[in-house]
Amino acid sequence: MFHAEPLPVFLVASPRPYDPAALTLRPTEALRIMPSAINRSAAFEQLALPLFASLYNHAHWLTRNPSEAEDLVQETFTRALRAFDSFKPETNFKAWIFRILRNSFLTTRSGIAASRTVFLEDQPDTLDTTASGPTPEDILLRLDNQAALQTALEQLQSPLREALLLCDVEEIKYKDIALILDVPIGTVMSRISRARRALRQLLQPHLGKSL
């Protein structure tokens, strides 16, 4: 994959505090690509290859099956490469390709089945997570129990788990999660909040076992 042209230059922005004015120009990976068709595929590979593991992990969480996850990542690459011209270099590539992953998933059999499940979005989020749940100290102790945490993650409703994984595992910003899931940013915040509250409640019965 060697080309005589200059290699694309990638500018990796360091994390910085939220600035409303920079909302649309705060990519996690901003890049400048030489606007040449020959460099296009190379640029795509440079951006996509490092995301293999993340895309596969997320695909596995969505499909709950290793071979379906692999098919889904393959399909994502095919679609993303075809649509790479529509990718705006000043935006977040990771969010862009995760959105394609999710849209591809929605066209699969398990995706269609999942979309049939009705998810009640607007449950009031007024209760304090610590109000009726365990104290913070209890949570600290139980978090060492990896198996319990994974079981709890599996038990979460998929829309809650999806938002939480994008936030905590993939470290994607709320506004980009909103783009990926195609929901308003307020919905993202409420799903993340609900997911964390539900996880705390799910971890509660494991208290005795893990101590």
């Binding site: 596969y56 600290l140 945490l149 994984l165 905590d168």
Partner: protein, 280 residues
């Protein structure tokens, strides 16, 4: 003023300074402006209840990040995906003139051999993977290393960066790898040893630098990975199907060389790489 216990559901209503659930989440997710962030930090220094909640929420977030990173692709899946991506991007780059099954074959055909070569490389990779996997079930990492080395031997496998100059090869990895390394200059390499180029690759799902050398016309693949992320190599054999595997570590890096050259020459090359990592 902040003596309300954390278990009080009406905590926010008693003191407007206390963190609401939304604010708490935005704070630990780094979604607040620096002014808001600073305001909360100030509050946390005087409010034990909120500080405990932030601590608990941060721990939960970190634990979710660990538990959520659960599924890693198998080496075979990784190889299949990489090969597919290469093949697709090559055929999209400059595809064949006639209509094929691929819907994006619409551009001129100057690199038809390259496309075939990519397919051949993919087949070689797949066949070698299958063969080696059947013969040696025990050590997947050794298999992966050898497969990647065999793939570089294919005439179709052009390194992503071709250069004998360390000042070209090393900077090429900037922004591509989450770590850095030093390369010895040509004079510091053992006799008749030449740097050919380099590739970005993956070992066990971790990014790795693949350096390609020749020693007396024998091809050598040298893999550099980060020690903190790569798994421990407990039982990596010294030889595999006639190829020599040589491993060395520095405080930060794990270096694994694969070649059919004689073991002492391979050791010399690895030693020169280890030496290059030492601060002057």
């Amino acid at each position: 003023m902040n003596q309300t216990p954390p278990t009080n559901p009406a905590i926010e209503h008693l003191d407007p300074n206390h963190l609401g659930p939304g604010q708490l989440n935005a704070f630990i997710d780094g979604e607040l402006s620096s002014a808001e962030q600073h305001g909360i930090e100030q509050h946390l220094t005087i409010c034990h209840a909120c500080a405990l909640r932030v601590l608990s929420a941060t721990k939960l977030k970190a634990a979710i990040a660990r538990a959520g990173q659960r599924f890693t692709p198998s080496p075979e899946a990784l190889a299949r995906l990489t090969a597919q991506l290469h093949a697709q991007s090559q055929s999209q780059q400059q595809p064949e003139p006639q209509k094929t099954a691929r819907i994006y074959s619409i551009r001129p055909a100057s690199t038809r051999p390259a496309a075939w070569a990519a397919i051949a490389a993919a087949i070689l990779l797949a066949v070698s993977l299958l063969t080696w996997r059947q013969l040696h079930q025990t050590n997947t990492l050794a298999t992966e290393l050898l497969d990647q080395h065999l793939a570089t031997l294919s005439t179709a496998a052009t390194p992503q960066v071709i250069s004998t100059d360390r000042h070209t090869v090393k900077p090429w990895f900037q922004g591509r790898l989450p770590f850095s390394f030093n390369l010895p200059d040509a004079a510091a390499l053992p006799p008749d040893t030449t740097l050919k180029g380099a590739d970005l690759t993956y070992l066990n799902g971790q990014p790795a630098a693949l350096l390609l050398f020749t020693i007396h016309k024998h091809e050598v693949s040298v893999f550099l990975t980060q020690r903190s992320t790569s798994p421990t190599l407990t039982a990596l054999p010294n030889t595999r199907a006639g190829f020599t595997l040589h491993t060395a570590t520095t405080p930060d890096l794990r270096i694994i060389a694969v070649s059919d050259v004689n073991p002492s020459d391979l050791n010399n090359l690895v030693a020169s790489l280890v030496q290059a990592q030492k601060p002057n």
